[in-house]
Structure formats: structure tokens, C-alpha cells
Amino acid sequence: MSAQTRDLRDWLVARVATYLRRSPQDVDPAVPLAEYGLDSLTALAISTDIEDEYDLVLDPALAWDHPTIDALTAVLTGLIEAKERA
């Protein structure tokens, strides 16, 4: 895992931990957000947070199709790399 990917994942863990009112250590990146009880509409807010942080334009349903932090990290890493290449 590259340093950039690790930073991205840590940032996502921290955001989601805030959403869930947990400490980051209690958020497993492999567990779907819905299993933590994050309701489906609130989960959508994460995509606008990511847009603001990483200056991306994302599909509004991003967090529904990539329901774990690991999955979000993977898809976002690709998008960020594509943007840097462009």
C-alpha cells in the first residue's frame, strides 16, 4: 500500500469515525458502513466530503456501490491517480 493510499484510508476512517461517533480504532475498514448502523442517506454525505477534500466530482451513490472503507479507498485511489495523470 502506497503512502498516499494509506493517507486516504486513514482520512476516510477518521471521517467515518466522526459520522459514527466512535474512535477511529473502532472502525474496521473491511466492514460495510451499513453494518455500523450508518443510515443510507447519511452515508451519501461522505461523497461530498471526499469531493471537497480531494477536489473530485463523484457519483452521488459512491458510498452505496463501495460500501466499505477499503472499497472506497480502492476506487478513490484510481480516481485520484487518473486526475493527476490528466
Partner: protein, 554 residues
């Protein structure tokens, strides 16, 4: 307001006068059917002759559903008479239809269109009593089997399901929790065993039923859109119906107001006409202003579906919250004025009690007002950061109700607005564009209100905006929705054609006054006088009390 389609006038004429005792679709016949808890058969015949189902089908599939505002105006003629007729004949198919137009492939859409254009009904089987508006908790299952699915479970309180030839069913296709666990299926004929009828306090002519289904096989081609895409389709497609259904229901207040004026103009109280009493005039003027406010905002939101579909999640929820509240509150105040005559099930004002009962579902049917508030909460911080604090141009195309509209693009509806709210972003520019005078002065305080809302909401922690949000956060939704409505009213007034009552300052002054933060005072005298004069003029000329001031059947 928004050049009425000629076909709306045609339907109005076909339905005829409410007060004509010989009209099979008049008040007496409507009340009679309601007493028997049966549909208004003669009304259904008129709607069939008018080919109302074509209003529910987009032009690319052979129908006349090209504009949401026109659909609303056509159906207002039905809601002006009998909300149960509208619900029982058209609403189920409309709701099922928008899900089809949003998610179906060409062949599925053509099949649904054929069915509707042939006079058939499609039931909207989304609801399960145990889960209410928590639709993601739905338990009705579609289990993969032999290349298709087996359907099992119950759908309850579904309008007209017993008479429908097909159903759009919301079913769980994945046992795990989450937003990708449900799918929509178009199933023909309606599967399962019918459940007994649910009886209700209002819309008594509508057969509310349900089905119990046990391992009913359907082919894979029944799935609308992708497997797991059900919740997304519902949340997008229902932006159309969350806007259109409360908008149609303004027809109920239109007739409620007419019954009140009829009754109070002939009634003698304390030595004079009841309608001359200051309190009576004040309540009537306020109800009239609230009707105009509701229609102005609903029409702007209907236009937004065409012009800025990506933002319609916000405006449709706001319509559900505020238009339904305005209608329910105004009818309650008229009921107080009418007193016993709002309660009698017979006589010239007998229709009022039915309209009052039939209107109630506007607040909880399809989606509850509280659920609509909840859907806006997580959007507030992004809206504040990206639109409220970033001034934009006046969205003239939203506000000029006579301007053309592009086709409705179901594929551009979005789960959330990504912070894009062009109406509020244009608030400052709109205020700057107003001519000097009392309306501009009355609206000035909203600059500070918007700045304050933007400041508070930009910093809200998303974690606190879910279903367990505090009441104080719901209050922010209320303030935002009121600001949206005030902005829409100002814009509609500013862009109304000269000579139209919508260009008269009385109604925006009343609208601003009646939803100003902390309002407690009655309307200023000259504003009230102008509204009552217009109200009585339309009453005498048999024109509608809404934005279009349309001629009504006599």
C-alpha cells in the same frame, strides 16, 4: 401562471359543475359514493373518456406526460372535486409509472405504457405496514431461483391493487442490510392472494388492499434496472411524485375556500353578512394567500424537475413538507370558520367534511412529512457551503412560469443535490433585482436569515443529522424550507406578466408576512383588502383561486 394546457380546460368541462344536483360527478353524487365507501363510477367513466391514463405516460412511449406542471394542472380538476377519484384512478399508476420511466429498459417501458394506454392500472406495491417510511427495512423478498426470482411476503395498504393488471413491487433481493439490498420488479398480473380491505377515515371510495405472496415465480426480466438498484430508483423517481401529489392537492383547498365563501356570503350573523366580519375576511384572505403561496412554490419545484433535475431531491422534499402543511392548516382554519357546516355530511357545504378527510393523506401518504424533513437534514451542510454562501444569478427559468420547459430527464435525477440549490444561491441577486417598494422592503430581512442559516448549517456535524437528529436540527430544515418558499414567491411575483394577479404586490406581501420568522400579527389592512377583493371577484366569475385563476365548469 404557466399557460394552462387546453386539455385541462377540456377535463374541467367534462367533469362539470359541482353544484349541479343532476351532475353525476357533482357534489351530491360524490358524497353519495363516499357514504357507500364506493368509487365514483361516473367520475371514472369521465376520466376514461378523457383518456386520463395518457397523462401518466411520457410522449416517447405514446402518452401526453410531457410536463409535470401540466400533469398537475390537469389533475387539479379531479382534486377540486373528489380526491378519492384521483387516488383511486390515477395515483397508483402515476407512482408505479415514474419508477418504470426512471429504471426500466425500452421493452419494459413499452409494456407498461401499452398497459396504461389500454386503460389498465399498475399498482405501486412499496409499502409494508410494519415498516412505514423506513422503506430500506422492507421484508417482502425476491429470492433468486432458476434464472428468475421467487416472490414471498406481504404488501399492505396499496391503493387499487385489486383492480390493477400489474404491480411494481419493491422487494428485498439481498438479506444483508444496506442500500443495495432491494430491487423493483414489474409483475403482471398482480401475484398472490388479496388481503382484506383496509378501511379508512378519508378517501373512503378507494379500495385499499394488499397481497400475500408465497413463492411466486417471476422471470429475471421482471427486474426494473439493476438488481440492488431499487432504493436508488425509488429515491429518484419519487422526486416527481413528491412534487406532483401535494401540488395537485391544492385543488382541495381551492374548493374548500369556495365552499367557505359560498356559505359565508349568504349567511347572516349579528345583523349583517358573515363575510363582512373582520375575522372572517382575515381568515379567508389568509387561506387565499396560502393557496397562492403553495401553488407558486409547487410550480417552481415542478419546473425544477425539468430544469435542474440534479437538485430536485431538495425541492421535492420541500414541497412535501410545506405545501402539504399549508393545505392542511388552511383547511383546518376554514373548518373553524364554517363551524357545524364543516361537519355536516349533507347540505350545500356537505362536501367540505369529505375534502377535509380526504386531504389528510397529503401529509403522510407516499412519504411522511417527517421523513421528507429527515431526507433534507444530511444535505444541509453541503447546501450551505456550496450554494447558500456562494451567490449565483437569478434562476429566471425556474421563476418565469410562462417560459418553456425542456423534457423531463429521469436519468438526471440524483440521490442528493451535491449542494446545488440555484434558487437559494440566486436569493441575493433576486432581491437586488426587485423594484423599490414594500415587497423589497419586506424581503430585506431574509438576507440576514440566509446568512445566519448558511453559517449554522455549514458547520453541522453529519453524524448528528441521521434519523436520531435533535429537534433543533429539524427546526433548521423548517427555516430553510420557509426561505425557499419565500424566495420562490418573490421570484414568481417579479417575473409574472403585468396585469396578472400574480404581478400584484398583495400576495407576495401576504406570503412573506405569513411565513416571516416569529410572525404573530394579522395581515396589514390594505393587503387583506386587495386579497379579499380578488377572492370575491374570482368567486363571482367562477374562476379558480390558485395561480392560474382558471375558468371553472359552471
Amino acid at each position: 401562471m404557466s399557460a394552462t394546457p387546453k386539455r385541462a380546460d377540456h377535463l374541467e368541462a367534462l367533469l362539470g359543475s359541482l353544484s349541479d344536483v343532476d351532475n353525476p360527478v357533482g357534489s351530491a353524487a360524490i358524497l353519495d359514493a363516499d357514504e357507500r365507501a364506493e368509487p365514483l363510477v361516473a367520475g371514472e367513466a369521465v376520466l376514461a373518456a378523457f383518456d386520463l391514463n395518457a397523462e401518466l405516460v411520457p410522449p416517447e412511449h405514446g402518452g401526453r406526460f410531457d410536463r409535470v406542471d401540466h400533469l398537475v394542472e390537469v389533475l387539479r380538476s379531479v382534486y377540486r372535486r373528489d380526491p378519492a377519484l384521483g387516488l383511486g384512478y390515477a395515483v397508483g399508476s402515476l407512482i408505479a409509472g415514474v419508477a418504470v420511466w426512471t429504471a426500466a429498459d425500452t421493452e419494459q417501458a413499452a409494456r407498461a405504457a401499452r398497459l396504461l394506454l389500454g386503460g389498465g392500472r399498475i399498482a405501486a406495491a412499496f409499502h409494508e405496514l410494519a415498516h412505514g417510511n423506513d422503506i430500506a427495512a422492507a421484508e417482502f423478498t425476491a429470492t433468486p431461483s432458476d434464472g428468475g426470482f421467487l416472490l414471498s411476503g406481504r404488501k399492505e395498504v396499496i391503493a387499487g391493487i385489486g383492480r390493477a393488471s400489474a404491480a411494481v413491487i419493491f422487494a428485498r433481493t439481498d438479506p444483508s442490510p444496506g442500500p443495495r439490498s432491494h430491487s423493483l420488479l414489474l409483475v403482471e398480473p398482480v401475484p398472490g392472494e388479496p388481503l382484506p380491505r383496509f378501511t379508512t377515515a378519508g378517501v373512503r371510495g378507494v379500495w385499499l388492499g394488499g397481497v400475500a405472496v408465497d413463492r411466486h415465480p417471476v422471470p429475471e426480466s421482471a427486474v426494473l434496472g439493476r438488481v440492488g438498484g431499487g432504493l436508488e430508483t425509488v429515491l429518484k423517481a419519487f422526486q416527481v411524485t413528491r412534487t406532483a401529489l401535494p401540488a395537485m392537492a391544492t385543488g382541495v383547498l381551492d374548493t374548500g375556500l369556495r365552499i367557505a365563501v359560498d356559505h359565508l356570503s349568504t349567511r347572516r350573523l349579528y345583523g349583517g353578512a358573515a363575510i363582512d366580519l373582520p375575522h372572517v375576511r382575515s381568515v379567508l384572505a389568509a387561506a387565499f394567500a396560502d393557496l397562492l403561496r403553495a401553488e407558486a412554490f409547487a410550480t417552481v419545484a415542478a419546473r425544477a424537475l425539468h430544469l435542474v433535475p440534479g437538485s430536485a431531491s431538495v425541492y421535492s422534499a420541500a414541497v412535501k413538507i410545506e405545501v402539504s402543511r399549508l393545505l392542511l392548516d388552511a383547511m383546518d382554519r376554514l373548518a373553524e370558520l364554517l363551524g357545524a357546516h364543516s361537519y355536516l355530511r349533507e347540505g350545500p357545504s356537505g362536501l367540505f367534511q369529505k375534502l377535509l378527510r380526504d386531504l389528510a393523506p397529503v401529509g403522510f401518504g407516499h412519504i411522511a412529512r417527517a421523513t421528507a424533513q429527515l431526507s433534507l437534514l444530511p444535505q444541509l451542510p453541503t447546501l450551505a457551503r456550496r450554494s447558500w454562501a456562494v451567490p449565483g444569478p437569478v434562476p429566471v427559468d425556474l421563476l418565469d412560469l410562462d417560459a418553456d420547459l425542456p423534457p423531463l430527464r429521469y436519468d438526471r435525477l440524483a440521490l442528493h443535490a451535491s449542494g446545488r440549490d440555484p434558487l437559494t444561491a440566486g436569493h441575493g441577486a433576486l432581491l437586488d433585482s426587485l423594484p423599490p417598494g414594500p415587497v423589497r422592503a419586506a424581503a430585506a430581512a431574509d438576507r440576514a436569515e440566509l446568512a445566519e442559516l448558511a453559517r449554522v448549517c455549514a458547520g453541522l456535524p453529519v453524524a448528528e443529522l441521521g434519523a436520531d437528529a435533535r429537534p433543533a436540527h429539524y427546526d433548521l430544515v423548517t427555516r430553510y424550507v420557509l426561505l425557499l418558499v419565500r424566495t420562490a414567491c418573490l421570484g414568481v411575483w417579479r417575473h409574472a406578466p403585468p396585469g396578472d394577479f400574480l404581478a400584484d404586490p398583495a400576495w407576495p406581501l401576504a406570503a412573506l408576512h405569513r411565513c416571516a420568522p416569529g410572525r404573530t400579527t394579522p395581515l396589514p389592512g390594505p393587503v387583506e383588502d386587495a386579497l379579499v377583493t380578488e377572492l370575491l371577484d374570482r368567486h363571482g366569475g367562477n374562476r379558480s383561486f390558485g395561480g392560474t385563476a382558471r375558468p371553472l365548469a359552471s
